[in-house]
C-alpha cells in the first residue's frame, strides 16, 4: 500500500489535504536543506508519488534530478498558488532532450 504526498507552502497545498493526500508544509522562507531532507524522508517512507510545487522544486533541483532515474518515487512538479512558472513543462522538455539529444517536441513554442 503506497501513499501520495504533496509538498509546498501551505497556501498552495492545503486543498489537497481534503482529497486525502498527505500534505507536508515547507514555507518559502525555509531553507533548501530542510526541503531536501523532507523529500528524502518521504521517498524512504512508502510515498510512491510526491507532488511538489514548482517554487519549492526550484530550490532543490539536485534532489529532484536525483529521483528522475530512480524507479520510485515519482516526483512531479505542480504549479503553486503563485502561478505557473513553466518549471514543470521544462522538466518534460528535459527528458526529451536527454532521450533524443535535442528538443523536438517543444521546439518553436517555448522559445
Amino acid at each position: 500500500m503506497y501513499k501520495i504526498a504533496v509538498m509546498g507552502d501551505w497556501d498552495s497545498i492545503y486543498g489537497f489535504g481534503a482529497l486525502g493526500l498527505d500534505t507536508f508544509r515547507i514555507e518559502a522562507d525555509e531553507s533548501p536543506e530542510e526541503a531536501a531532507q523532507m523529500l528524502r524522508r518521504l521517498a524512504r517512507n512508502n510515498y510512491e508519488v510526491i507532488y511538489i510545487t514548482e517554487a519549492l522544486a526550484a530550490k532543490i533541483p539536485g534532489e529532484i534530478d536525483h529521483y528522475r532515474t530512480e524507479p520510485s518515487p515519482a516526483v512531479i512538479l505542480i504549479p503553486g498558488i503563485s502561478g505557473n512558472t513553466g518549471e514543470g513543462i521544462a522538466a518534460v522538455k528535459k527528458s526529451v532532450e536527454q532521450a533524443v539529444g535535442s528538443d523536438i517536441i517543444f521546439g518553436s513554442k517555448n522559445e
Binding site: M1, Y2, K3, I4, S12, Y14, G15, F16, G17, A18, L19, G20, L21, E48, V49, Y51, R68, T69, P71, S72, A74, I76, I78, P79, G80, I81, G83, N84, G88, I89, A91, V92, S95, V96, Q98, A99, V100, G101, I105, F106
Partner: protein, 223 residues
C-alpha cells in the same frame, strides 16, 4: 588463434549492435508517443490546478484563515495507491491506480457546511476532479523520465559499439591478416631462394653458364 577469436567477437559485436539499435529505435518511438501524451496531460493539469487555486483564493476571501485551517484540520477522505509495474522494452514503468475511502464525491468534505462558504465546496470539488488526471500525469511523467534515461544509455552503447569497438576490432583483424600474409610471402621467398641454392650446388648452373659465355666470345673474336 587470436584472429579466429577476434572474428568471432566481431560477429557478436555486430549482432549486438543491430539488436541495440533496434531497441533504441523502438524505445524512441514509444517514448515520443508517451511524451506527447505527457505534454498534453501536463498542460491540462496545470490549467486545472490554476483554476482550482483560483477557486480556493475566492473561498478564502470569504472566510477567515482560522476557519479555513479548522475546516481542513482533519481530512476525512483517504487515498491509497496501488502500483503495478509494466515492462516496456526492458524499462520498468509504473502504473498507478488509486482507491478512495469513500467513493461518494459528496462525502469527502472534512468540515460542516455551517461555518464555511459555499465557494470552498466548489474549490474542493474542482480539485478532486483534477486528481485522476494528476495521477495519470505522474504515471506518464515518471515513465517518460525512466525511458529517457534508458534511451540515453542504449544510445551510448550503440555509439560505443558503432564508432569504437567495431572499428577497433576491424583494424586489428586487418593488421593480423596483413602480418600473416606478409609472413607467408616471406617464407615462400625463402623457400624459393633455398631451392635455387640447392640446385646451384647440385648442377653448377653458374659455372656452366660462364663457360658457355666464354666459348661464345672466343667464337666471335675468332670469326
Amino acid at each position: 588463434m587470436e584472429l579466429t577469436r577476434l572474428k568471432g567477437k566481431l560477429v557478436t559485436a555486430r549482432k549486438g549492435h543491430k539488436l541495440l539499435k533496434d531497441k533504441r529505435d523502438e524505445l524512441m518511438r514509444q517514448f515520443l508517443e508517451m511524451v506527447r501524451e505527457n505534454k498534453a496531460l501536463r498542460e491540462k493539469v496545470e490549467l486545472e490546478i490554476a483554476n482550482a487555486n483560483r477557486n480556493f483564493a475566492l473561498a478564502r476571501s470569504a472566510m477567515s484563515d482560522e476557519a479555513v485551517r479548522v475546516a481542513f484540520m482533519a481530512p476525512k477522505q483517504k487515498v491509497s495507491l496501488e502500483v503495478a509495474y509494466k515492462n516496456i522494452m526492458s524499462v520498468e514503468v509504473p502504473s498507478y491506480t488509486f482507491r478512495t475511502r469513500t467513493s461518494d464525491v459528496n462525502d469527502m468534505f472534512s468540515y460542516g457546511f455551517a461555518f464555511t462558504s459555499a465557494d470552498l465546496d466548489g474549490a474542493v470539488r474542482s480539485l478532486s476532479e483534477v486528481f485522476p488526471d494528476m495521477l495519470k500525469l505522474a504515471q506518464s511523467e515518471k515513465s517518460c523520465q525512466l525511458m529517457a534515461a534508458e534511451i540515453e544509455k542504449t544510445r551510448r552503447r550503440v555509439n560505443a559499439l558503432e564508432h569504437v569497438l567495431i572499428p577497433d576490432m576491424e583494424a586489428s583483424i586487418k593488421f593480423i591478416t596483413m602480418k600473416l600474409d606478409e609472413n607467408e610471402r616471406s617464407s615462400q621467398i625463402r623457400l624459393m631462394k633455398v631451392k635455387d641454392m640447392m640446385l646451384e650446388d647440385k648442377h653448377h648452373y653458374k659455372e656452366k653458364e660462364e663457360k658457355r659465355a666464354r666459348r661464345k666470345a672466343e667464337k666471335y673474336s675468332a670469326g
